[in-house]
Symmetry: C3
Subunit: 313 residues, 3 copies
């Protein structure tokens, strides 16, 4: 389409001018002269160090001895406090709608950072129950050490429980950047807003999505590819804050690929949801939701070698 003789003469200057004209014309995907956004790479570094504080000795390259634990912990905490406060300060500057002064924002970032770090022991209490549920629930697990070192679930739930505390303190951007980092590594998307009880376990993780306003009880076990999602309504942004995702009560098991939808949907305690089920309304406690016996037909294929799948039959 383009005159090739002409195109080779295009210089960097011309390409630059075309892009600058696009920057001027197309808004919404530029971020110029703006407040400094929180840094993704800094937040990832902080998340890695928070995991080291939560699981001492597991994610360090060298052995941690009890005798050095106090010093090592203090050094790590000191480093995390400063870096986290900087990122929270940037996120508060970014969302500063009420015109707080620079000093007020800095003070607020400092306070939020300390309050957040005070939650670490409580987060550890919950994570200990998750590691227990993972080990007890998976015969393939050789040891609790294997679960913590190798299972993507532990990383995903630890990051979500951290991000959830920042979410509760109305820190913008950072919680989601944290959980999307874990999502990228584990394939599981746990929104920072979701309320998740104790003894949670998701085996394999990959493809599982838990939406912002989910409410998950204690002792819930799920598998890969489970979606706890909202109806797609034309309301869009007007639905912000409304409960849009399901409630899963205690001791529920949800098998691979099941989709449970809607803010009013409640899966009663002790229920089991079969694989690939699409559930859009509530079921009472102790329900077993399985495909009907007549859902599939099993036919004899005419030709053994053929892998042709003719769904027109």
């Amino acid at each position: 389409m383009l005159n090739t003789a002409a195109t080779v003469k295009l210089s960097v200057t011309q390409l630059t001018d075309q892009l600058l004209s696009s920057y001027a014309r197309v808004g919404g995907i530029n971020h110029l002269d703006g407040k400094n956004l929180p840094s993704k790479s800094a937040i990832v570094g902080i998340a890695v160090d928070l995991l080291r504080l939560l699981f001492p000795g597991f994610f360090d390259d060298k052995i941690i001895h009890s005798s050095e634990l106090k010093v090592e912990t203090a050094i790590l905490l000191d480093s995390v406090i400063g870096r986290l406060e900087d990122e929270i300060h940037k996120s508060f500057e970014y969302s500063n709608a009420v015109g707080n002064s620079k000093q007020e924002l800095r003070k607020s970032a400092h306070q939020t950072t300390l309050e957040f770090l005070q939650q670490l022991p409580c987060i550890r209490d919950l994570l200990q129950t998750d590691a227990e549920a993972a080990f007890n629930g998976d015969p393939a697990a050789l040891s609790k050490e294997e679960v913590i070192v190798a299972y993507p679930f532990i990383e995903a739930i630890a990051v979500q429980r951290l991000a959830h505390q920042l979410y509760l303190k109305n820190v913008p951007l950072i919680p989601r950047i944290m959980t999307e980092w874990a999502h990228s590594r584990t394939g599981m998307d746990l929104h920072p807003g979701a309320k998740i009880g104790s003894h949670f376990f998701v085996d394999h993780c990959t493809g599982t999505v838990v939406g912002e306003t989910c409410n998950i009880g204690n002792h819930v076990k799920m598998y890969q590819g489970v979606s706890l999602i909202a109806r797609s309504l034309s309301g869009g942004q007007q639905l912000k804050g409304v409960k849009r995702h399901p409630t899963i009560e205690d001791h529920v098991t949800v098998y691979a690929g099941a989709t449970i939808m809607g803010g009013d949907t409640v899966v009663g305690a002790g229920s089991t949801i079969g694989a690939n089920v699409f559930l859009t309304n509530s079921v009472p406690p102790r329900s077993l939701v399985v495909p009907d016996a007549f859902q599939y037909k099993v036919m004899n294929k005419p030709d053994r070698q053929s892998q042709i799948l003719d769904f027109q039959i």
Copy 2:
């Protein structure tokens, strides 16, 4: 099985000889004395810089000021041109079936690089509509900045729209290496060949697959785990170039886990496909495809504590 006493004596030399003998015997998975293949790490570096050019200020560690924008853009473009031309040149050398001279290949690589970079403003036009669709379609999105910085969708669609332009210019290997990089990071596999309209949005992304010959209209919204795929036919490589993947018309919504199959399958405009549906034939415009009411049975489990799932009932 092996004599352990003997094995410990095996030296590096012996292991090397065994491997060399395997390299000589088993073909197809060696690449020796061949043309230099495009470098994965170089292509990833180029993709990262192209994202910085598409979304100025969003993926840079420091603030970009309008006053420096021209200089910064020119420097980045200059760097990208040289590196991209080198990789395209390698890919043309690799696929050089008609015996073009080294000089012709280099000239062709140069021209293709410039023509590709001229498309960046058009790609930005489309990405602006995608970011808008993502923000409007997700009540969990706090701001457009959050969407661009944290949502895996933006990265996946930006890389696909870049790779699609290279695919249209018959650049081998590089488009797929680019989209597989995004696939690895986002869990979504958008083939460079797929035609995708404006205002596209895939929420959560993870597990979604869009095949090479898909044709997706404007204002299409999809969720995680959606598969737009081909029938698996015994034809294999003989089907290259044939339309094998579905057509999705404008304003269609496809829920989590739905699978839509086949090159003749057309989902009519304005339709909604429910979660986990397996659709193998066309549906007219404004269709609502949902599981039949009798698909599932909900039973009362005999024992609340038991998580045993007996599908033999």
Copy 3:
């Protein structure tokens, strides 16, 4: 909830004391004074080098010439032997239940490393059939080079076939760390324990899970989102070693999102399992398992613009 005036005064010392008290109180997720666990980053480095040995010339930044192949291979093998032996030694120390001496463990680690590396030619034989199956089975594949360089499947199956050999030699932790690394990069979770025949291919990979005691025949083709999993039984850890995952015989095709469950479930040779099917019992050879024609209802939506999905209808 907290007194904010007080919280800002909390010092690093106080936060440290809170965490130390949590470390003392909450067990199971600390690893202190313990044996040095195998290093994740070292294992990833070893896996990368093993891929270079399996596919010479494909994952190197420079061209490998036949004339240098012997020297390059010997250097790489020499480096891998030492590093792998160190990690296997750590894993044997970690699991040393019978009280073997340090010398015995070191000798055993050395021998296991050499025996494992002797398997590389056999692993290459299998991988060559996998690359062939991938190329033949996917019309979107431009060349075998593209398959090896860009397809996540090749990386995932290569790492599983390596890890499976370590699993057979009862090496703890390392096999799972290897496959979880590939899982994180490809979205596919192939357990090191699974027995997988020749000419295996999983298109797109993302979301597919193959459990520990699966038995997969030759010429099996699968897609993204397939789950070959265990029933979730209350037995938990007591089921270790029991066959809990399905058997897939030769020449079977399993479409996207299908879930096949249970240790007694056998999918007979030459069968095809449709997308999103949930199969919990055996099917005879040459079966075609598809959703029943009455599974879905297709309705006309009242309002074309509306994307409201009312499943209460």
